[in-house]
Symmetry: C2
Amino acid sequence: MVEDKILELLKRRDSGHVSGEELSEVFNVSRTSIWKHIEKLRSEGYDIAAAPHLGYRLVSIPDRLTGIELKWGLDTKIIGKKIYSYKEASSTNDIAYGMAVSGEREGAVVVAEYQTSGRGRLGRKWVSPGGKGAYFSIILRPDILPREISAITLLVSLAVAKAVRGITGLPAFIKWPNDILINGKKVCGILTELNGETDKVNFIITGIGININTKVELLPEGASSLAAEKGVAVDRLELVKAILRNIDKYYKIFNGGDTAAIIKEYKKLSAVLDRQVQINYHNKLMSGHVVDVDKEGALILRLDSGFNERILAGDVTMLR
Amino acid sequence: MVEDKILELLKRRDSGHVSGEELSEVFNVSRTSIWKHIEKLRSEGYDIAAAPHLGYRLVSIPDRLTGIELKWGLDTKIIGKKIYSYKEASSTNDIAYGMAVSGEREGAVVVAEYQTSGRGRLGRKWVSPGGKGAYFSIILRPDILPREISAITLLVSLAVAKAVRGITGLPAFIKWPNDILINGKKVCGILTELNGETDKVNFIITGIGININTKVELLPEGASSLAAEKGVAVDRLELVKAILRNIDKYYKIFNGGDTAAIIKEYKKLSAVLDRQVQINYHNKLMSGHVVDVDKEGALILRLDSGFNERILAGDVTMLR
């Protein structure tokens, strides 16, 4: 698209101007045509100033998770080479799943500003109010067995927690397996789905829903947003880009076989390690002290009886 | 459908006759209408004799895997309560998968006489010539984690091997994980696919392709059919029904938590236990002596070095 290319030229010129004449020559179209493209960009939220003799100058970009902005300077190897951006989507996981079935390559990202049917773990709803959060799903095609999917879940939550810390400075921790907590409140949920056969994963869709500048009143009880915890708005584009970069980095480590390195970093940010917790799985309760997260991502719980129990799945509640 | 009900009445009358008058009264339609339904059944391959004064008599049923015939006397709890029968299908796994996504309940069976795009494990093709084999897929919704899917694979292969033995008397064995062999030749393949999330299986589709009376010339090298091994044709309907009954039985045991009982029976029919084998996984070869199939369905291989290796996936070749 010509608009994308004009935008790129304006961005590369830093704070300087690009004349209508130059643009018209570069793209080999009339100056009136250039003006129409500039108007189109303005209608999408780009603030582009025009000064006589000097030309056009990019003043600011819109607060929107578009493919072009997310890709700008992303510099990843796999994640986000393709980005499909929607203002509104039913569920980005559903869209990505459909794309994966149709053969879309790994690393493709589906992002939406608003989800009408956002889904959480175990068939739960994921509240996805518009405009201030980020809801995105990534297609992965690791050459693994279905049993190894837990590592992907941990890797993605680690990537998110690190990105939140890097961009906002907030003390983000991970509640096993993959909720991101700040000050004990949930700010992000991750839903990792798979399609495979007994001894092969065909593809994995990992979906991330993160409350960035979302109004807390719109969120369920116990949830919060990054802005609410920090007290100021957070740059959504930079945060999502940081998450994509981290996933790219940890996914590379995972594919290289060094899951141990990921688990080691994950444990440093664990909200449950060395804590007394209660686990609810299939309506069976179990409580104990979390002593480890093992190499397969299972939680090792020391029961009151002194025996260790290996927990593969369940909902964790932290006890005082 | 009236035809189904007429058929049921004819079947229940054993070798006796049912008069047109009786049928006309039972279904409250004219005798001409009854005659038309009988003609319809005849066109589907049912041999129905008509004698003056005595009425209609069912002489034989067609050699076709129809829902009505498969359900006849099936007497299962879960498997086959619904059967969708096709003369031709792209892939019964694909059809069942789509039905499962749309909410179809567990136990539903999709069966075809012929597949245009039959699929085997790891993206391989499954040759599905028409008319003499059976290709069917079952929707299961066990409350398990993705890592537990191996048990389903073993359970289904056990069910098939047992049914083949019961109906044909042939010495069917299971090549781990789930090929059925007779005299060292493959007669059946099983493809188990899943859809789920990190800690929940949404559904499993287990697809069975079995060469029953299939001409060996139509099959790939190394494959055979039950009829070729036995020397006479095998009753396809009875075989498929026996498989469905066995899956129903073992699935109940699995849901009851007694995977150990299934593994125990599975091991009795294992073609690889106590044999020298070579395993190929991701183009890495490993050879050794199979000493066990563990409680999670993994193969325990004693390497030449004396160490045991736990094999979760791979292709097995038996060595002399």
